[in-house]
Protein backbone atom coordinates (compact mmCIF):
# COMPACT_ATOMS: atom_id res chain seq x y z
CA UNK A 1 0.00 0.00 0.00
CA UNK A 2 2.91 2.36 0.77
CA UNK A 3 4.12 2.00 -2.80
CA UNK A 4 0.67 2.69 -4.24
CA UNK A 5 0.32 5.86 -2.12
CA UNK A 6 3.73 7.13 -3.28
CA UNK A 7 2.84 6.42 -6.94
CA UNK A 8 -0.49 8.27 -6.57
CA UNK A 9 1.23 11.26 -4.91
CA UNK A 10 3.82 11.35 -7.70
CA UNK A 11 1.17 11.28 -10.44
CA UNK A 12 -0.78 14.03 -8.66
CA UNK A 13 2.38 16.14 -8.43
CA UNK A 14 3.03 15.64 -12.12
CA UNK A 15 -0.51 16.67 -13.01
CA UNK A 16 -0.12 19.79 -10.88
CA UNK A 17 3.10 20.69 -12.69
CA UNK A 18 1.49 20.07 -16.08
CA UNK A 19 -1.50 22.24 -15.23
CA UNK A 20 0.77 24.95 -13.82
CA UNK A 21 2.83 25.05 -17.00
CA UNK A 22 -0.38 25.30 -19.04
CA UNK A 23 -0.92 28.69 -17.39
CA UNK A 24 2.14 29.85 -19.32
CA UNK A 25 0.50 28.76 -22.60
CA UNK A 26 0.28 31.68 -25.04
CA UNK A 27 -2.71 30.34 -26.99
CA UNK A 28 -0.97 29.97 -30.37
CA UNK A 29 -0.32 26.77 -32.31
CA UNK A 30 3.39 27.65 -32.46
CA UNK A 31 3.44 27.79 -28.68
CA UNK A 32 1.45 24.56 -28.37
CA UNK A 33 3.72 22.58 -30.73
CA UNK A 34 7.11 24.28 -30.30
CA UNK A 35 6.84 26.33 -27.08
CA UNK A 36 7.39 29.43 -29.29
CA UNK A 37 11.08 28.49 -29.72
CA UNK A 38 11.65 29.63 -26.14
CA UNK A 39 13.39 26.68 -24.46
CA UNK A 40 16.77 27.53 -22.92
CA UNK A 41 19.82 25.24 -22.51
CA UNK A 42 18.85 23.58 -19.22
CA UNK A 43 15.27 22.69 -20.17
CA UNK A 44 16.49 21.57 -23.60
CA UNK A 45 19.06 19.24 -22.02
CA UNK A 46 16.59 17.76 -19.56
CA UNK A 47 13.71 17.40 -22.01
CA UNK A 48 15.84 15.78 -24.74
CA UNK A 49 17.58 13.47 -22.25
CA UNK A 50 14.24 12.49 -20.67
CA UNK A 51 12.78 11.83 -24.11
CA UNK A 52 15.63 9.59 -25.28
CA UNK A 53 15.81 7.60 -22.02
CA UNK A 54 12.91 5.17 -21.70
CA UNK A 55 12.09 2.53 -19.07
CA UNK A 56 15.00 0.63 -20.57
CA UNK A 57 17.43 3.09 -18.96
CA UNK A 58 16.61 1.89 -15.43
CA UNK A 59 14.86 -1.47 -15.69
CA UNK A 60 16.24 -2.80 -18.98
CA UNK A 61 19.87 -1.87 -18.29
CA UNK A 62 19.80 -3.75 -14.96
CA UNK A 63 18.03 -6.74 -16.50
CA UNK A 64 20.33 -6.92 -19.52
CA UNK A 65 23.50 -6.71 -17.42
CA UNK A 66 22.08 -9.38 -15.08
CA UNK A 67 21.81 -11.60 -18.16
CA UNK A 68 24.74 -10.47 -20.33
CA UNK A 69 27.24 -8.81 -17.97
CA UNK A 70 29.06 -5.47 -17.89
CA UNK A 71 29.41 -5.32 -21.70
CA UNK A 72 25.87 -3.88 -21.80
CA UNK A 73 27.27 -0.47 -20.81
CA UNK A 74 29.69 -0.48 -23.75
CA UNK A 75 27.04 -1.79 -26.12
CA UNK A 76 24.34 0.74 -25.35
CA UNK A 77 25.53 3.55 -23.07
CA UNK A 78 29.01 4.72 -24.08
CA UNK A 79 28.09 4.33 -27.77
CA UNK A 80 25.00 6.50 -27.23
CA UNK A 81 27.14 9.12 -25.49
CA UNK A 82 29.13 9.47 -28.70
CA UNK A 83 26.41 9.10 -31.33
CA UNK A 84 23.52 10.96 -29.67
CA UNK A 85 25.65 14.07 -29.16
CA UNK A 86 26.94 13.64 -32.72
CA UNK A 87 23.33 13.77 -33.95
CA UNK A 88 22.54 16.84 -31.81
CA UNK A 89 25.66 18.60 -33.08
CA UNK A 90 25.59 17.66 -36.76
CA UNK A 91 21.84 17.54 -37.33
CA UNK A 92 20.04 19.28 -34.47
CA UNK A 93 21.75 22.67 -34.72
CA UNK A 94 21.39 22.91 -38.51
CA UNK A 95 17.78 21.71 -38.46
CA UNK A 96 16.93 24.21 -35.73
CA UNK A 97 18.48 26.96 -37.85
CA UNK A 98 16.57 25.95 -40.99
CA UNK A 99 13.37 25.44 -39.00
CA UNK A 100 13.72 28.89 -37.52
CA UNK A 101 14.37 30.41 -40.97
CA UNK A 102 11.60 28.65 -42.89
CA UNK A 103 9.06 27.96 -40.14
CA UNK A 104 9.08 24.16 -40.01
CA UNK A 105 7.25 22.33 -37.26
CA UNK A 106 7.77 18.74 -38.42
CA UNK A 107 10.46 16.65 -40.12
CA UNK A 108 8.23 16.07 -43.13
CA UNK A 109 7.88 19.81 -43.77
CA UNK A 110 11.68 19.99 -43.94
CA UNK A 111 11.96 16.99 -46.30
CA UNK A 112 9.21 18.32 -48.59
CA UNK A 113 10.92 21.69 -48.84
CA UNK A 114 14.51 20.46 -49.18
CA UNK A 115 13.64 17.78 -51.75
CA UNK A 116 10.93 19.81 -53.56
CA UNK A 117 8.66 16.81 -53.32
CA UNK A 118 5.08 16.39 -52.13
CA UNK A 119 5.26 12.63 -52.40
CA UNK A 120 8.19 12.21 -50.01
CA UNK A 121 5.87 13.34 -47.21
CA UNK A 122 3.26 10.74 -48.12
CA UNK A 123 5.94 8.05 -48.31
CA UNK A 124 7.60 8.98 -45.01
CA UNK A 125 4.49 9.71 -42.95
CA UNK A 126 3.22 6.12 -42.54
CA UNK A 127 6.78 4.83 -42.04
CA UNK A 128 7.59 7.32 -39.26
CA UNK A 129 4.24 6.89 -37.51
CA UNK A 130 4.45 3.12 -37.95
CA UNK A 131 7.85 3.07 -36.26
CA UNK A 132 6.79 5.35 -33.37
CA UNK A 133 3.63 3.41 -32.42
CA UNK A 134 5.39 0.19 -31.24
CA UNK A 135 7.76 2.46 -29.30
CA UNK A 136 4.69 4.05 -27.62
CA UNK A 137 3.22 0.63 -26.91
CA UNK A 138 6.36 -0.45 -25.09
CA UNK A 139 5.96 2.49 -22.67
CA UNK A 140 2.24 2.00 -22.09
CA UNK A 141 2.60 -1.74 -21.48
CA UNK A 142 5.70 -1.37 -19.33
CA UNK A 143 3.97 1.16 -17.06
CA UNK A 144 1.08 -1.28 -16.47
CA UNK A 145 3.45 -4.15 -15.70
CA UNK A 146 5.58 -2.06 -13.32
CA UNK A 147 2.62 -0.76 -11.28
CA UNK A 148 1.03 -4.19 -11.12
CA UNK A 149 4.34 -5.77 -10.12
CA UNK A 150 5.02 -3.49 -7.17
CA UNK A 151 1.44 -3.46 -5.85
CA UNK A 152 0.90 -7.23 -5.88
CA UNK A 153 -0.55 -8.43 -2.60
CA UNK A 154 -2.15 -5.04 -1.80
CA UNK A 155 -5.80 -5.92 -2.53
CA UNK A 156 -7.96 -8.91 -1.79
CA UNK A 157 -10.10 -8.27 -4.85
CA UNK A 158 -9.03 -8.62 -8.50
CA UNK A 159 -11.43 -5.83 -9.61
CA UNK A 160 -13.12 -8.22 -12.04
CA UNK A 161 -9.87 -9.14 -13.83
CA UNK A 162 -8.12 -12.50 -13.84
CA UNK A 163 -6.89 -13.02 -10.27
CA UNK A 164 -4.03 -15.23 -11.43
CA UNK A 165 -2.73 -12.26 -13.43
CA UNK A 166 -3.41 -9.35 -11.08
CA UNK A 167 -2.16 -11.27 -7.99
CA UNK A 168 -3.75 -8.74 -5.67
CA UNK A 169 -2.16 -5.76 -7.40
CA UNK A 170 -3.54 -2.91 -9.51
CA UNK A 171 -4.60 -4.61 -12.80
CA UNK A 172 -2.22 -3.80 -15.66
CA UNK A 173 -5.07 -2.53 -17.80
CA UNK A 174 -6.12 -0.04 -15.12
CA UNK A 175 -2.54 1.04 -14.39
CA UNK A 176 -1.79 1.64 -18.10
CA UNK A 177 -5.02 3.60 -18.44
CA UNK A 178 -4.13 5.85 -15.48
CA UNK A 179 -0.68 6.56 -16.94
CA UNK A 180 -2.18 7.33 -20.37
CA UNK A 181 -4.73 9.70 -18.81
CA UNK A 182 -2.10 11.53 -16.71
CA UNK A 183 0.18 12.02 -19.74
CA UNK A 184 -2.79 12.98 -21.89
CA UNK A 185 -3.91 15.67 -19.43
CA UNK A 186 -0.59 17.46 -19.19
CA UNK A 187 0.15 17.16 -22.91
CA UNK A 188 -3.42 18.22 -23.80
CA UNK A 189 -3.34 21.37 -21.68
CA UNK A 190 0.35 22.20 -21.62
CA UNK A 191 1.45 21.25 -25.16
CA UNK A 192 5.20 21.37 -25.75
CA UNK A 193 5.84 23.76 -22.85
CA UNK A 194 4.05 21.44 -20.41
CA UNK A 195 5.94 18.49 -21.89
CA UNK A 196 9.32 20.22 -21.49
CA UNK A 197 8.62 21.14 -17.85
CA UNK A 198 7.27 17.68 -17.03
CA UNK A 199 10.24 16.01 -18.75
CA UNK A 200 12.67 18.14 -16.78
CA UNK A 201 10.98 17.30 -13.49
CA UNK A 202 10.81 13.60 -14.36
CA UNK A 203 14.41 13.44 -15.54
CA UNK A 204 15.58 14.91 -12.22
CA UNK A 205 13.38 12.39 -10.37
CA UNK A 206 14.68 9.29 -12.14
CA UNK A 207 18.33 10.40 -12.01
CA UNK A 208 18.25 11.09 -8.27
CA UNK A 209 16.30 7.93 -7.46
CA UNK A 210 18.68 5.84 -9.56
CA UNK A 211 21.68 7.07 -7.54
CA UNK A 212 19.89 6.65 -4.18
CA UNK A 213 18.83 3.12 -5.12
CA UNK A 214 22.43 2.27 -6.05
CA UNK A 215 23.70 3.49 -2.67
CA UNK A 216 21.07 1.59 -0.67
CA UNK A 217 21.52 -1.66 -2.63
CA UNK A 218 25.34 -1.45 -2.36
CA UNK A 219 25.17 -0.98 1.43
CA UNK A 220 22.63 -3.78 1.96
CA UNK A 221 24.26 -6.26 -0.41
CA UNK A 222 27.83 -5.57 0.69
CA UNK A 223 26.80 -5.42 4.34
CA UNK A 224 29.89 -3.47 5.50
CA UNK A 225 30.11 -0.30 7.55
CA UNK A 226 31.52 1.98 4.85
CA UNK A 227 30.33 2.52 1.29
CA UNK A 228 33.67 1.56 -0.31
CA UNK A 229 33.94 -1.64 1.71
CA UNK A 230 30.38 -2.55 0.76
CA UNK A 231 31.14 -1.90 -2.92
CA UNK A 232 34.15 -4.23 -2.76
CA UNK A 233 32.20 -6.92 -0.92
CA UNK A 234 29.33 -6.76 -3.44
CA UNK A 235 31.66 -6.85 -6.48
CA UNK A 236 33.85 -9.66 -5.11
CA UNK A 237 31.11 -12.21 -5.87
CA UNK A 238 30.32 -11.17 -9.45
CA UNK A 239 30.49 -14.31 -11.64
CA UNK A 240 33.61 -14.08 -13.89
CA UNK A 241 31.59 -14.56 -17.10
CA UNK A 242 29.63 -11.38 -16.30
CA UNK A 243 32.85 -9.32 -16.23
CA UNK A 244 33.83 -10.04 -19.83
CA UNK A 245 32.27 -9.94 -23.28
CA UNK A 246 33.75 -13.16 -24.67
CA UNK A 247 32.00 -16.55 -24.70
CA UNK A 248 32.53 -18.66 -21.55
CA UNK A 249 30.53 -21.80 -20.75
CA UNK A 250 26.80 -21.01 -21.03
CA UNK A 251 27.55 -17.32 -21.51
CA UNK A 252 27.55 -16.79 -25.28
CA UNK A 253 29.10 -13.31 -25.21
CA UNK A 254 29.01 -10.97 -28.20
CA UNK A 255 31.13 -11.10 -31.35
CA UNK A 256 33.38 -8.12 -32.06
CA UNK A 257 31.83 -7.29 -35.43
CA UNK A 258 28.30 -7.51 -34.05
CA UNK A 259 29.36 -5.18 -31.24
CA UNK A 260 30.86 -2.74 -33.78
CA UNK A 261 27.74 -2.69 -35.95
CA UNK A 262 25.53 -2.22 -32.87
CA UNK A 263 26.92 1.32 -32.78
CA UNK A 264 24.66 2.20 -35.72
CA UNK A 265 21.52 1.61 -33.61
CA UNK A 266 21.76 4.85 -31.52
CA UNK A 267 21.95 6.89 -34.74
CA UNK A 268 18.17 6.41 -34.72
CA UNK A 269 18.00 9.53 -32.54
CA UNK A 270 18.81 11.58 -35.64
CA UNK A 271 15.53 10.50 -37.26
CA UNK A 272 13.18 10.37 -34.25
CA UNK A 273 10.35 12.78 -35.14
CA UNK A 274 9.78 13.64 -31.45
CA UNK A 275 13.46 14.56 -30.95
CA UNK A 276 13.27 16.74 -34.10
CA UNK A 277 10.34 18.59 -32.52
CA UNK A 278 12.29 19.10 -29.29
CA UNK A 279 15.24 20.48 -31.27
CA UNK A 280 12.96 23.11 -32.81
CA UNK A 281 11.87 24.33 -29.37
CA UNK A 282 15.35 25.75 -28.68
CA UNK A 283 15.55 29.47 -27.99
CA UNK A 284 18.69 29.82 -30.11
CA UNK A 285 21.49 27.71 -31.56
CA UNK A 286 23.67 28.25 -28.48
CA UNK A 287 21.05 26.43 -26.38
CA UNK A 288 22.34 23.21 -27.97
CA UNK A 289 25.78 23.51 -26.34
CA UNK A 290 24.75 22.18 -22.94
CA UNK A 291 22.79 19.15 -24.27
CA UNK A 292 25.65 18.26 -26.66
CA UNK A 293 28.25 18.32 -23.85
CA UNK A 294 26.27 16.96 -20.90
CA UNK A 295 24.34 14.15 -22.61
CA UNK A 296 27.18 11.54 -22.37
CA UNK A 297 27.71 12.38 -18.68
CA UNK A 298 23.99 12.07 -17.94
CA UNK A 299 23.90 8.69 -19.65
CA UNK A 300 26.82 7.60 -17.48
CA UNK A 301 25.14 8.80 -14.26
CA UNK A 302 22.05 6.71 -15.01
CA UNK A 303 23.56 3.64 -16.69
CA UNK A 304 26.77 2.90 -14.80
CA UNK A 305 25.12 2.26 -11.38
CA UNK A 306 22.31 0.25 -13.02
CA UNK A 307 24.75 -2.02 -14.89
CA UNK A 308 26.78 -2.62 -11.72
CA UNK A 309 23.60 -3.45 -9.77
CA UNK A 310 22.60 -5.86 -12.57
CA UNK A 311 25.85 -7.86 -12.34
CA UNK A 312 25.67 -7.86 -8.53
CA UNK A 313 22.19 -9.36 -8.87
CA UNK A 314 23.63 -12.31 -10.78
CA UNK A 315 26.03 -13.18 -7.92
CA UNK A 316 25.65 -15.62 -5.05
CA UNK A 317 25.11 -12.68 -2.71
CA UNK A 318 21.69 -12.09 -4.27
CA UNK A 319 20.64 -14.65 -6.91
CA UNK A 320 22.13 -17.51 -4.93
CA UNK A 321 20.05 -16.55 -1.86
CA UNK A 322 16.70 -16.47 -3.65
CA UNK A 323 14.14 -19.31 -3.53
CA UNK A 324 14.01 -21.40 -6.71
CA UNK A 325 10.68 -19.99 -8.01
CA UNK A 326 12.00 -16.42 -7.76
CA UNK A 327 15.24 -17.43 -9.49
CA UNK A 328 13.14 -18.90 -12.29
CA UNK A 329 11.09 -15.70 -12.49
CA UNK A 330 14.28 -13.62 -12.84
CA UNK A 331 15.68 -15.97 -15.48
CA UNK A 332 12.42 -15.78 -17.42
CA UNK A 333 12.01 -12.01 -17.20
CA UNK A 334 15.23 -10.11 -16.35
CA UNK A 335 13.30 -6.81 -16.46
CA UNK A 336 12.02 -7.55 -12.94
CA UNK A 337 15.55 -7.77 -11.49
CA UNK A 338 15.63 -4.17 -10.23
CA UNK A 339 12.12 -4.13 -8.68
CA UNK A 340 12.81 -7.51 -7.01
CA UNK A 341 16.15 -6.30 -5.62
CA UNK A 342 14.56 -3.14 -4.25
CA UNK A 343 11.69 -5.12 -2.72
CA UNK A 344 14.09 -7.60 -1.10
CA UNK A 345 16.78 -5.17 0.01
CA UNK A 346 15.25 -1.74 0.45
CA UNK A 347 11.65 -2.09 1.60
CA UNK A 348 8.37 -0.52 0.45
CA UNK A 349 9.28 3.16 0.88
CA UNK A 350 12.26 3.15 -1.50
CA UNK A 351 10.35 0.65 -3.64
CA UNK A 352 7.58 3.23 -4.03
CA UNK A 353 10.02 5.99 -4.91
CA UNK A 354 11.87 3.79 -7.36
CA UNK A 355 8.60 2.89 -9.07
CA UNK A 356 7.90 6.61 -9.39
CA UNK A 357 11.36 6.95 -10.98
CA UNK A 358 10.67 4.17 -13.47
CA UNK A 359 7.30 5.71 -14.36
CA UNK A 360 9.05 9.07 -14.76
CA UNK A 361 11.44 7.55 -17.31
CA UNK A 362 8.51 5.98 -19.20
CA UNK A 363 6.26 9.04 -19.19
CA UNK A 364 9.01 11.46 -20.20
CA UNK A 365 9.20 9.59 -23.51
CA UNK A 366 5.47 8.95 -23.95
CA UNK A 367 4.50 12.63 -23.69
CA UNK A 368 6.81 13.78 -26.49
CA UNK A 369 5.74 10.93 -28.75
CA UNK A 370 2.02 11.62 -28.25
CA UNK A 371 2.50 15.33 -28.90
CA UNK A 372 4.67 14.64 -31.93
CA UNK A 373 2.20 12.32 -33.65
CA UNK A 374 -0.63 14.81 -32.98
CA UNK A 375 1.50 17.56 -34.49
CA UNK A 376 2.39 15.45 -37.55
CA UNK A 377 -1.26 14.65 -38.30
CA UNK A 378 -2.23 18.31 -37.94
CA UNK A 379 0.66 19.84 -39.90
CA UNK A 380 1.58 17.20 -42.47
CA UNK A 381 -1.85 15.88 -43.36
CA UNK A 382 -4.72 18.15 -42.32
CA UNK A 383 -3.17 21.60 -42.77
CA UNK A 384 -1.03 20.54 -45.71
CA UNK A 385 -3.90 19.15 -47.77
CA UNK A 386 -6.77 21.33 -46.52
CA UNK A 387 -4.66 24.48 -46.93
CA UNK A 388 -2.89 26.14 -44.01
CA UNK A 389 -4.63 29.46 -44.73
CA UNK A 390 -8.07 27.88 -44.20
CA UNK A 391 -7.22 26.62 -40.72
CA UNK A 392 -6.75 29.21 -38.01
CA UNK A 393 -4.54 29.03 -34.96
CA UNK A 394 -7.29 27.95 -32.58
CA UNK A 395 -8.46 25.28 -35.00
CA UNK A 396 -4.89 23.96 -35.33
CA UNK A 397 -4.63 23.50 -31.57
CA UNK A 398 -8.07 21.89 -31.50
CA UNK A 399 -7.13 19.45 -34.27
CA UNK A 400 -3.77 18.61 -32.62
CA UNK A 401 -5.54 17.96 -29.29
CA UNK A 402 -8.17 15.79 -30.98
CA UNK A 403 -5.46 13.74 -32.68
CA UNK A 404 -3.55 13.38 -29.42
CA UNK A 405 -6.67 11.95 -27.75
CA UNK A 406 -7.16 9.63 -30.72
CA UNK A 407 -3.55 8.39 -30.63
CA UNK A 408 -3.66 7.84 -26.86
CA UNK A 409 -6.91 5.88 -27.28
CA UNK A 410 -5.50 3.77 -30.16
CA UNK A 411 -2.27 3.06 -28.29
CA UNK A 412 -4.12 2.09 -25.14
CA UNK A 413 -6.49 -0.10 -27.16
CA UNK A 414 -3.58 -1.89 -28.84
CA UNK A 415 -1.87 -2.42 -25.48
CA UNK A 416 -4.90 -4.42 -24.28
CA UNK A 417 -4.15 -7.12 -26.81
CA UNK A 418 -0.84 -7.67 -25.02
CA UNK A 419 1.30 -8.09 -28.12
CA UNK A 420 4.21 -9.33 -26.03
CA UNK A 421 6.51 -9.47 -29.03
CA UNK A 422 6.36 -5.69 -29.05
CA UNK A 423 9.16 -5.62 -26.48
CA UNK A 424 11.47 -7.34 -28.92
CA UNK A 425 10.34 -4.89 -31.59
CA UNK A 426 12.16 -2.07 -29.80
CA UNK A 427 15.52 -2.64 -31.43
CA UNK A 428 13.81 -3.16 -34.81
CA UNK A 429 12.08 0.23 -34.48
CA UNK A 430 15.40 1.89 -33.66
CA UNK A 431 17.08 0.09 -36.57
CA UNK A 432 14.36 1.39 -38.91
CA UNK A 433 14.99 4.96 -37.82
CA UNK A 434 18.78 4.44 -38.08
CA UNK A 435 18.43 3.22 -41.67
CA UNK A 436 16.92 6.63 -42.53
CA UNK A 437 19.85 8.49 -40.96
CA UNK A 438 21.80 8.67 -44.28
CA UNK A 439 18.84 10.55 -45.80
CA UNK A 440 18.67 13.32 -43.21
CA UNK A 441 22.47 13.60 -43.14
CA UNK A 442 22.63 13.93 -46.94
CA UNK A 443 19.81 16.52 -46.93
CA UNK A 444 22.02 18.74 -44.78
CA UNK A 445 25.50 17.99 -46.11
CA UNK A 446 25.29 16.70 -49.71
CA UNK A 447 24.24 19.07 -52.47
CA UNK A 448 24.03 16.29 -55.06
CA UNK A 449 21.22 14.51 -53.25
CA UNK A 450 18.21 14.39 -55.57
CA UNK A 451 14.53 13.77 -55.04
CA UNK A 452 14.87 10.36 -56.74
CA UNK A 453 17.89 9.55 -54.55
CA UNK A 454 15.82 10.32 -51.45
CA UNK A 455 12.99 8.03 -52.64
CA UNK A 456 15.57 5.30 -53.34
CA UNK A 457 17.00 5.69 -49.82
CA UNK A 458 13.58 5.42 -48.14
CA UNK A 459 12.47 2.49 -50.29
CA UNK A 460 15.79 0.64 -49.81
CA UNK A 461 15.63 1.23 -46.04
CA UNK A 462 12.01 0.09 -45.86
CA UNK A 463 12.57 -2.87 -48.21
CA UNK A 464 15.67 -4.17 -46.42
CA UNK A 465 13.99 -3.64 -43.02
CA UNK A 466 10.93 -5.61 -44.15
CA UNK A 467 13.02 -8.43 -45.63
CA UNK A 468 15.24 -8.83 -42.55
CA UNK A 469 12.26 -8.52 -40.20
CA UNK A 470 10.62 -11.37 -42.11
CA UNK A 471 13.88 -13.38 -41.97
CA UNK A 472 13.94 -12.96 -38.17
CA UNK A 473 10.46 -14.57 -37.96
CA UNK A 474 9.01 -11.12 -37.27
CA UNK A 475 11.34 -10.55 -34.30
CA UNK A 476 10.55 -13.95 -32.77
CA UNK A 477 14.23 -14.83 -33.27
CA UNK A 478 15.68 -12.42 -30.71
CA UNK A 479 19.30 -13.15 -31.51
CA UNK A 480 18.91 -12.76 -35.29
CA UNK A 481 22.05 -11.49 -37.03
CA UNK A 482 23.15 -11.10 -40.66
CA UNK A 483 26.24 -13.07 -41.64
CA UNK A 484 28.84 -11.42 -43.88
CA UNK A 485 28.65 -13.52 -47.11
CA UNK A 486 31.26 -16.26 -47.28
CA UNK A 487 32.37 -15.78 -43.67
CA UNK A 488 31.15 -16.60 -40.18
CA UNK A 489 31.20 -12.94 -39.14
CA UNK A 490 27.86 -11.79 -37.73
CA UNK A 491 26.48 -8.24 -37.94
CA UNK A 492 23.43 -6.46 -36.59
CA UNK A 493 20.60 -6.21 -39.18
CA UNK A 494 20.84 -2.40 -38.95
CA UNK A 495 24.22 -2.53 -40.76
CA UNK A 496 22.62 -4.08 -43.86
CA UNK A 497 19.71 -1.62 -43.80
CA UNK A 498 22.08 1.32 -43.39
CA UNK A 499 24.26 0.10 -46.26
CA UNK A 500 21.29 -0.52 -48.58
CA UNK A 501 19.80 2.90 -47.99
CA UNK A 502 23.17 4.69 -48.40
CA UNK A 503 24.14 2.84 -51.60
CA UNK A 504 20.70 3.32 -53.17
CA UNK A 505 20.68 7.03 -52.28
CA UNK A 506 24.18 7.71 -53.64
CA UNK A 507 23.81 5.75 -56.91
CA UNK A 508 20.37 7.12 -57.80
CA UNK A 509 21.39 10.69 -56.87
CA UNK A 510 24.49 10.49 -59.07
CA UNK A 511 22.55 9.34 -62.13
CA UNK A 512 19.62 11.76 -61.79
CA UNK A 513 19.43 15.51 -62.35
CA UNK A 514 20.70 17.49 -59.34
CA UNK A 515 18.52 20.23 -57.81
CA UNK A 516 18.74 23.85 -59.08
CA UNK A 517 21.61 25.87 -57.57
CA UNK A 518 19.13 28.61 -56.64
CA UNK A 519 17.13 26.16 -54.51
CA UNK A 520 20.24 24.75 -52.85
CA UNK A 521 21.31 28.22 -51.73
CA UNK A 522 18.41 28.17 -49.28
CA UNK A 523 19.98 25.23 -47.46
CA UNK A 524 23.73 25.63 -47.98
CA UNK A 525 25.53 28.83 -47.10
Amino acid sequence: MTQLIIICCYLALLLGLGLFSSRLFRGTSKDYMLASHSIGPFLLLMSIFGTTMTAFALVGSTGESFKEGVGVYALLASSSGITHSLCFFLLGIKLWSLGHKYGYTTQIQFFRDRLQSEGIGLLLFPILVGLVIPYLLIGVMASGSVINGVTQGTFETSFGFDEAVTKGGVPKQVASLVICVVVLIYVFFGGMRGTAWANTFQTIVFMILGVVTFYVIAMKLGGKTTFMESLRAASSKIPPDKLIRGAVGDHHGISKLKYFTYMLVPLSVGMFPHVFQHWLTAKNAKAFKLPVIAHPIFIMIVWLPCVLVGVWASSDLFYGQLPAPLQAALDGNPNIVLPVMVKQLAGPLLGGFLTAGILAAIMSSLDSQFLCIGTMFTEDIVKHYAGAEKIGDRQSILIARAFIILIVAITYGLSLFEPRAVFTLGVWCFSGFSSLFPLIFACLYWKKLTKAGAYAAVLAAFGSWGYLFWQSDFAANRGYTVMVPGTDYETMPVATMFLCSTVAMVIVSLITKPPEEEHLKRFFA
Binding site: Y73, R232, S235, I244, R245, M300
Partner: protein
Amino acid sequence: MKNVVWGLVVLLVILHQDNWLWEDATLIDGFLPVTLLFHGGLSIAAAVTWFLATKFAWPADVVESSSPGGSEA
Protein backbone atom coordinates in the same frame (compact mmCIF):
# COMPACT_ATOMS: atom_id res chain seq x y z
CA MET B 1 41.66 22.86 -34.59
CA LYS B 2 38.39 21.84 -36.25
CA ASN B 3 40.15 18.85 -37.82
CA VAL B 4 41.62 17.92 -34.44
CA VAL B 5 38.10 17.83 -32.97
CA TRP B 6 36.82 15.56 -35.74
CA GLY B 7 39.95 13.45 -35.32
CA LEU B 8 39.05 13.07 -31.63
CA VAL B 9 35.53 11.95 -32.55
CA VAL B 10 37.01 9.27 -34.84
CA LEU B 11 39.37 8.28 -32.00
CA LEU B 12 36.38 7.87 -29.65
CA VAL B 13 34.76 5.49 -32.14
CA ILE B 14 38.02 3.52 -32.47
CA LEU B 15 38.53 3.38 -28.69
CA HIS B 16 34.94 2.22 -28.26
CA GLN B 17 35.98 -0.98 -30.05
CA ASP B 18 38.14 -2.04 -27.07
CA ASN B 19 39.08 -5.53 -28.26
CA TRP B 20 41.98 -5.62 -25.77
CA LEU B 21 39.53 -5.64 -22.81
CA TRP B 22 37.26 -8.35 -24.23
CA GLU B 23 38.44 -11.07 -21.86
CA ASP B 24 39.74 -8.86 -19.01
CA ALA B 25 37.87 -9.54 -15.74
CA THR B 26 39.99 -7.24 -13.54
CA LEU B 27 38.23 -5.35 -10.75
CA ILE B 28 39.80 -1.91 -10.32
CA ASP B 29 40.14 -0.93 -6.64
CA GLY B 30 38.42 -4.20 -5.85
CA PHE B 31 34.96 -3.15 -7.05
CA LEU B 32 34.85 -1.58 -10.53
CA PRO B 33 35.09 -3.93 -13.55
CA VAL B 34 37.78 -2.63 -15.91
CA THR B 35 35.32 -2.59 -18.83
CA LEU B 36 33.01 -0.28 -16.89
CA LEU B 37 35.90 1.98 -15.87
CA PHE B 38 37.13 2.23 -19.46
CA HIS B 39 33.72 2.93 -20.95
CA GLY B 40 32.78 5.31 -18.12
CA GLY B 41 36.01 7.13 -18.97
CA LEU B 42 34.98 7.07 -22.63
CA SER B 43 31.69 8.79 -21.69
CA ILE B 44 33.67 11.55 -19.96
CA ALA B 45 36.07 11.77 -22.92
CA ALA B 46 33.03 12.10 -25.21
CA ALA B 47 31.74 15.03 -23.12
CA VAL B 48 35.18 16.72 -23.31
CA THR B 49 35.35 16.14 -27.07
CA TRP B 50 31.88 17.62 -27.57
CA PHE B 51 32.88 20.58 -25.42
CA LEU B 52 35.84 21.14 -27.76
CA ALA B 53 33.49 20.75 -30.74
CA THR B 54 31.25 23.54 -29.44
CA LYS B 55 34.35 25.74 -29.00
CA PHE B 56 36.25 25.05 -32.20
CA ALA B 57 33.92 23.36 -34.68
CA TRP B 58 30.70 25.33 -34.22
CA PRO B 59 28.84 25.48 -37.57
CA ALA B 60 29.38 28.85 -39.22
CA ASP B 61 26.21 28.91 -41.29
CA VAL B 62 23.54 28.73 -38.57
CA VAL B 63 21.16 31.47 -37.53
CA GLU B 64 22.14 32.30 -33.93
CA SER B 65 19.38 34.67 -32.88
CA SER B 66 16.19 33.70 -31.07
CA SER B 67 12.79 34.06 -32.69
CA PRO B 68 11.09 37.43 -32.21
CA GLY B 69 8.49 35.82 -29.97
CA GLY B 70 10.99 33.79 -28.00
CA SER B 71 11.79 34.37 -24.36
CA GLU B 72 13.79 32.80 -21.56
CA ALA B 73 12.48 29.48 -20.24
